[in-house]
């Protein structure tokens, strides 16, 4: 039976992509359109930021760390938002790909959060004189890193994958409360970390010669993150099919 026929109309569009064959075809077509621009934009942004953008009048060349740190910080939060959104879809609509997507986002999100913390430390040592301070922004991002690690551990902690997915989804939704804390930590508390340089409502408080490479890097890393998630999800869908086939063979032979 076709997977789309068993659901009411409002759920059909969502579950249309739950069909593994359809998902693999669609994602296979989308993947090059994510990966190639991601590589181009990131390389241009990093080379521009490293060699052609001006040094900061106060920070000197340490400002170039921003071209890695800011995209990593953005992706740490955006990745967790995606993880929480997939978890909500999995819990509410029982979408089979949403569970897998959440599982695949976890390790990549943890990696970019670790990159954000590491590059923040590498910037903090020459600028603040310390690798780490228990500042509200830094601490809330460290909590986000632990939430990612907790999700990775929890989804693998059960014999039944479905129970692991459900426990991980609940943790992801509860942990989403950390996202506004990260965003507004620099406004709510007196922090060593500077306030947002780029906002939706105001003009950016940085030179345009620094803003352009930052935008290239941010867009490039974001597309790269999406490409890696799609590639991992494709592999996970195929691995699930392999497990199902092997289980069917075992049951046949028993």
């Amino acid at each position: 039976m076709d997977a789309t026929t068993s659901f009411p109309p409002q759920r059909r569009s969502l579950h249309r992509f739950a069909n593994p064959g359809r998902f693999l075809r669609l994602s296979g077509a989308v993947l090059p359109w994510l990966a190639i621009p991601a590589i181009l934009l990131t390389v241009i942004g990093l080379v521009w930021g490293l060699f052609f953008s001006p040094p900061d009048w106060q920070q000197g060349d340490a400002v170039r760390i921003m071209y890695i740190h800011v995209p990593a910080a953005w992706l740490a939060s955006a990745g967790y938002f995606a993880l929480a959104a997939c978890s909500a879809v999995a819990l509410i609509w029982r979408h089979p790909l949403a569970d897998l997507a959440a599982v695949e986002i976890g390790p990549v999100g943890a990696g970019v959060t670790a990159l954000c913390l590491a590059t923040g430390s590498l910037w903090g040592k020459p600028m603040w004189g310390a690798w780490w301070v228990w500042d509200a922004r830094l601490t809330s991002v460290l909590i986000l890193f632990f939430l990612y690690l907790g999700h990775i551990a929890l989804v693998r902690a059960f014999d039944s994958p479905e129970r692991g997915y459900r426990a991980g989804a609940i943790l992801a939704l509860v942990g989403a409360v950390d996202l506004p804390i990260i965003k507004f930590s620099v406004d709510w508390w007196n922090t060593l970390h500077q306030p947002d340089t780029i906002t939706l409502t105001g003009a950016p408080t940085m030179y345009i010669s620094m803003l352009w490479p930052l935008l290239f890097c941010t867009l490039g890393y974001t597309l790269g993150f999406a490409a890696i998630i799609v590639a991992r999800l494709r592999a996970a869908v195929m691995e699930r099919r392999i497990r199902a086939l092997l289980m069917a063979r075992v049951q046949e032979s028993a």
């Binding site: 170039r64 970019v112 086939l245």
Partner: protein, 52 residues
């Protein structure tokens, strides 16, 4: 360039991490594709119908 070791370490991490994730994803996809092609009866049938 001022603070060169810190900048170089940041760029090394910023390049290495995505490359490691991308290579791992490609290898995992290839492995899964090979295994699926070996055991999936639908793929085996479609392979069998192709001219040699």
């Amino acid at each position: 360039m001022t603070h060169l070791p810190f900048v170089a370490a940041s760029y090394a991490l910023g390049v290495l991490l995505p490359v490691i994730y991308a290579v791992a994803a490609v290898q995992r996809t290839r492995r899964a594709t090979r295994r699926l092609a070996a055991i999936d009866p639908r793929r085996a049938r479609s392979r069998g119908s192709l001219p040699a």
